[in-house]
Symmetry: C2
Subunit: 211 residues, 2 copies
């Protein structure tokens, strides 16, 4: 391993760099200094230099960063230069919203199928994605090289299904279920707890009203 261990804080910021660089690319900007990037992203130039130094640093003193190169390198670090096959567990409203979102496809996340136990949903398409019977999940995961599963199911079912998915070889779970998953298996979990995000907002509103 050549790379040093990178702190979680830096990793949390990387997708944001990736987004800003993508926007610069789209608007035809070829080079950008850490100062300019700093003004746009509202973080200090020294933080930008420090963060990007974690990956060997891509800047040349006095010339700024090559936007396309930096964008692609961060893309590689994030693993979005590769295709990821994905499924969605749960074809209710949230599952449908994820299927319809579409924005993930251009980052290489391809939704291959959705799964549900509801007979009225099985056989339908949402955002071009077919809903299959949950019974077929294990077989499908193995035969379609599925790396990521989005869990858009009630919390009561989440852990059981997560274990099954891990056993079938899924590498990452994108967990929208309102619970923490305790898995022994070597599978990465990224939680999107929407209610908790909303509570943080309400906390900050309450605080701002006190001052």
């Amino acid at each position: 391993m050549e790379r040093k261990t990178i702190s979680n804080a830096v990793i949390k910021r990387l997708p944001r760099y990736y987004r800003y660089l993508g926007e610069l690319l789209e608007s035809g900007v070829e080079r950008i200094s850490s100062n300019d990037l700093s003004r746009r992203m509202k973080v200090t130039a020294s933080q930008i230099r420090q963060d990007l130094n974690n990956f060997g640093g891509f800047g040349q003193q006095g010339y700024g960063y090559n936007v396309k190169f930096l964008y692609e390198e961060i893309g590689k670090i994030l693993g979005v230069n590769q295709r990821h096959n994905m499924i969605i567990i749960g074809a209710g409203n949230l599952g449908q919203a994820i299927a319809n979102y579409g924005n993930f496809e251009k980052r290489g996340f391809l939704v291959k199928a959705m799964f549900d136990i509801n007979q009225e949903l099985i056989g339908k398409y949402f955002g071009g994605v077919l809903v299959l019977d949950m019974k077929e999940m294990e077989c499908f995961v193995k035969s379609h090289d599925i790396q990521i599963a989005a869990l858009a199911i009630p919390k009561q079912k989440a852990e059981e299904i997560a274990h099954k998915l891990a056993e079938c070889g899924v590498k990452g779970l994108w967990n929208f279920a309102h619970t923490d998953l305790n898995l022994e298996e070597n599978v990465m979990v990224e939680n999107v707890h929407l209610s908790e995000s909303l509570m943080r907002l309400s906390y900050r509103i309450a605080q701002s009203e006190q001052t």
Copy 2:
């Protein structure tokens, strides 16, 4: 102000305490020690004691925490003991998913209306929530005491609409648009950048495969 300033890290953890305490309450647990809570939540008992000390501490040495009291106190801190009137901007798939989710209602977040410019959506109901014309947004916000707006719209429109909402007196924006909002106004922003969350997952999958 009696309360000390509370670090962001603690605030990030509070909704998780609230969730666990809510589950304990539902299953009839009346008291819990920091050690037991620690085992369930997979954080150290000393962190739990430290975190809860920020709010004066609710535990009694040797007796553990009173679950109901702690749940309610954290609820007050988070501001979820009050009703928050909310609207959703954008009645596309994501907006519909938020409206249908329903889980927010029991935490006191009441979705009063959705807004869109698409004539085919206006007049329809999703999860019991009516879609109104965007033209009516400003008037509605003022007359219905709306505190929170969820932004489920494309990034190109987000900042303009965010400014309008802030001018009408909205206190918090729950931002699903794939952009950072730069607002001068005194309005809180909580971002839910789904693509970035997915990229963090893909990063961790890539890392786990290298080791």
